[in-house]
Symmetry: C2
Subunit: 572 residues, 2 copies
């Protein structure tokens, strides 16, 4: 497999071989490796020293269901630390067929021009794209499909990325033309700072990577699929409800961020939960869809497509985090409005989680009223899209927004906002949010812990093990959903690795690998200026009681402290 390097200072493209020692590296592991090897951890994230790393996982391109996840990484302008943000879509499948596993974007143009990096079997080039400036992602994808004859996968940024907003994500196209966001950490701003509007990958490759032991491989793949199809969560619940299923649970336990994290239950949650979304799609039909696969071969299909009242397209897949952060957290109970905000965010190219957190703070400051759908829509589609002063401020994320509006109620860790899971009522998340090497987030790995969510003790060890499993598993290119599907049993992915690479690894190997991922990420962060003190939840979660259960984060300090015990991390 090859690495493609595009130098945006010189507007030159280089192709090089993937080093043999990186053969089993992909996703978070490869991002961490390249960050530590090639990026000055103290550099300005939007300057020419940072790099944008785009890569699949170690098992990408082999035709394994849900293993072709796209990773986008580099130094985050939101957190100042390492970032790997991942998404579904067809990009990695198209790229693998061209024999390319990784794209590294370097340097920075000296002009304000924007470019498209076009990659196909026949030609790879940088095309001046200044004519597409300010186009939304949807608008751009439409143009790209027209220009390149439909059969392309795209990675792009919207106006927010062009304006280098820290809430800007990178957006990948899926099996149709819908968008899948690698939303968090401001990787869209890094892409914008490189003068790169889009990467367009022609789906005309024919490369097939070698599989050492084919029979063993097909057998391992069958077992993997069987396991997932026998799990009611991944076989029934997610295809039907998508991630939206989570909303009702969070609301019930009082962990759904509501009215800028001042409540944990939303009185109108019934109007925006998974069931309501399911019924809306069922009723309206049209282009509406449950079980929408974001990449070919997916067997979980947790995505959806939201139709408007006339059955026409309203929004790309609506996820729980969006429904929580742009819904309950802003006091909005209208699914149409939330779906439209989701569309706008995808089009403008911003992270719905960070956007919801930042707007929540602005609403508490009186910028508009909670639940004022019209004003909130305007804030997103006018202020953020056009980069007014308010838009630029919110576009800088919830931490800066809170600093400017002078509140210590910042629902963020390491500069990144918490997702739709208040750690006061879901206490395992206090550990996950705190310890994440990328700022508060569910994507660091979430447990299906047997410990009740309101219980203060005992979460650390369970959470830590899942974080490690997740780090290893994701680096292979798999989506998080499928890890739940195989019930966190690592023998499934390890069998696939063994068959492909003719190895004889055990599950301990993947655990050790996962630890290595996290330690490498942490190494970058420490070199960038982070310390152990950054691994803590904000004070207000410890002091301000969260209704309706009036809970605070009271996870014992020793649980945080022992997280980094050498006996765990150095044990292989």
């Amino acid at each position: 497999m090859k690495i493609l390097r595009a130098n945006m200072s010189k507007l030159k493209i280089l192709i090089e071989d993937l080093p043999e020692e990186w053969k089993l590296f992909g996703g978070r592991r490869l991002v961490a490796e390249i960050c530590n090897k090639e990026i000055n951890p103290e550099c300005y994230p939007l300057g020419d020293e940072n790099k944008l790393i785009i890569t699949g996982g170690a098992l990408a391109g082999y035709g394994i269901p849900m293993a072709d996840r796209l990773s986008v990484g580099g130094k985050s302008p939101l957190t100042g630390g390492i970032k790997e943000s991942n998404a579904g879509g067809t990009v990695i499948q198209s790229l693998s067929k061209l024999g390319i596993c990784t794209i590294i974007i370097e340097g920075q143009p000296s002009t304000k021009d924007f470019y498209i990096l076009y990659i196909s079997k026949d030609k790879t080039e940088l095309i001046n794209a200044s004519v597409y400036k300010k186009l939304g992602n949807h608008e751009l994808v439409k143009e790209m499909r027209k220009k390149f004859n439909n059969d392309v996968s795209t990675i792009s940024i919207g106006p927010a990325g062009e304006m280098k907003m820290s809430i800007a994500g990178v957006f990948a196209s899926d099996t149709k033309w819908h968008l899948r966001p690698a939303a968090r950490g401001g990787m869209g701003a890094v892409m914008g700072s490189k003068g790169l509007k889009a990467i367009v990958i022609k789906n005309n490759g024919t490369y097939k990577p070698n599989i050492s032991n084919k029979e063993e491989f097909y057998s391992a793949r069958r077992e993997f699929i069987k396991k997932i199809m026998n799990n009611p969560e991944t076989a029934v619940r997610y295809p039907k409800y998508g991630t939206a299923a989570t909303l009702q649970i969070k609301n019930k336990i009082g962990a759904l961020p509501t009215y800028n994290f001042t409540r944990g239950s939303f009185e109108k949650a019934d109007l925006i939960n998974g069931d309501a979304l399911f019924r809306l799609i069922e009723k309206r039909k049209g282009v509406g869809q449950h079980s929408h696969a974001c990449m070919a071969g997916c067997i979980i299909k947790c995505g959806n497509i939201i139709p408007n009242k006339d059955g026409n397209f309203l929004s790309d897949s609506l996820e729980f985090e969006t429904m929580g952060m742009l819904g309950a957290n802003l006091g909005i109970s209208n699914l149409d409005t939330i779906a439209n905000l989701n569309y706008e965010c995808n089009n403008i190219g911003i992270d719905t989680i960070e956007t919801g957190a930042a707007i929540g703070i602005a609403l508490s400051f009186g910028i508009a009223n909670f639940g004022d759908e019209k004003e909130i829509s305007k804030i997103i589609s006018k202020d953020i899209r056009n980069g007014t002063v308010l838009g630029q401020l919110l576009g800088s994320g919830c931490t800066l927004t809170a600093q400017v509006f002078k509140t210590s109620r910042v629902p963020a860790v390491k500069g990144q906002s918490i997702n739709a899971s208040d750690p006061r009522a879901h206490k395992e998340r206090a550990i996950t949010h705190s310890m994440s090497t990328m700022g508060a987030d569910h994507t660091f790995g979430v447990t299906r812990s047997p410990i009740p969510p309101h219980e203060s003790n005992g979460h650390m060890q369970i959470a830590r093990l899942v974080h490690v499993k997740m780090a290893g598993y994701e680096s292979l290119g798999f989506c998080q959903m499928s890890l739940a599907g195989i019930e966190f049993e690592l023998k499934y992915p390890v069998s696939l690795v063994n068959a492909i690479f003719n190895l004889n690894k055990d599950t301990e190997w993947l655990l050790k690998y996962g630890k290595e991922v996290i330690l490498e990420e942490r190494k970058f962060n420490f070199a960038a200026g982070f310390t152990e003190k950054d691994d803590r939840i904000p004070d207000f979660f410890k002091k301000e009681k969260l209704p309706p259960f009036n809970l605070v984060v009271d996870v014992p300090e020793k649980e945080y402290k022992s997280y980094w015990d050498k006996s765990f991390w150095e044990n292989s």
Copy 2:
């Protein structure tokens, strides 16, 4: 002498004795002591854990000219580190007569009410001041003088302090009713966060501190005065031109921040230099004044009062830093406009330096044009005064403004903007700006170095010695001007200390004392999260050439590094 503590959570006042071991502590030294002893360095600066410390120097109240400087300190909301900001005015003279050397404001009211702390011989109380909310400092001082029968000294905040803006200062009244700002580091926001609108001190005290050896004291005082009166800088230049004299020099060497630090000389500098200011006052007369003393007994009188065209009051003392940062740095060449902006800043209660730096960044972003006096006036008197989103943003200082507007050109160190002295053309300032324990600033101590300003080498040792002298000298309560007046010869203040306290110290003692001040400040900063890496000038000063001399900061790294050599700091 007594310490007055006002607890704003309980609305209670306590009087306690100044501990014997703090007898020689005052100003920066006492602020550092109280910060390290009583403030959690990791606390939220605008929360109830921070304290606002108001104190004179160790020699305050003894009738020594220029030794009654007011210090205002605590943890800075602008930098996150320690802050001591000082000002002239009559506050410390009035307070000393009441036998009070220090006021410590603690806690935070649970309501949004504001209070006045009224202190007199007969009565000390907290008065609800919510009726004065949103008044400017000038407006408030007028009210206070009316309410308390004129003979009062005041310390107050304007609307910016109430809104807890990081650019908000604390303003003291002078010998008349004009204002002297303790402007930098956001101490006005800390005062606002305590719900304290003003401290009003009735000038009815009769306390006279003990002088051990009176004859020796009067002789030492005579020598001190004689030295200053024989120095042409303090005897002639400052009384005539004030600090404005500096502008021409800075402009000539190309170190005057112009158009948001993109040039070092302003083509219209002649219109706003010390001479122009002198002529304006001379011509208009009316209330206009050179040689305005901010405190009784001052023999330098570097202050001025600016008359408008009709001879009526236009502005409090106009200083070089203001003329540089609100003039050249914003492309404004109209002295009337600059004086009016100065008045507005004092009235709103903000630091003219940080304001000029933040607006400079906003102008580069296109918020208004450089030199557009009308728009820039509106930004200050409308946006900042009323706290619009733009106002709140600029009110957060230049570092946050730059972060939101996505530029790495941040003319700040440790979160505080550089004053009107570009380190690229005045290279000694690269050391001073970098090493300051309080963020970039001239008040850390400026040399009259024989090394040419464009020379890259050799500044460190000279600068460091002045920083140390300054730290010790200021802690005694003296103003910076007088240190220039005595040509940095510490025997003058040491003689005064010996006479008053019946001691036998030498100048080495004051040097050691000065080192202790800086080390204590640094200790607080490190506990707050700073590291040695924060002692550096921003990268852009090293890379971007400054016209007209096309200079960059190229002070050798070893000069920064050796600044903290133990052999210097531990040597007593």
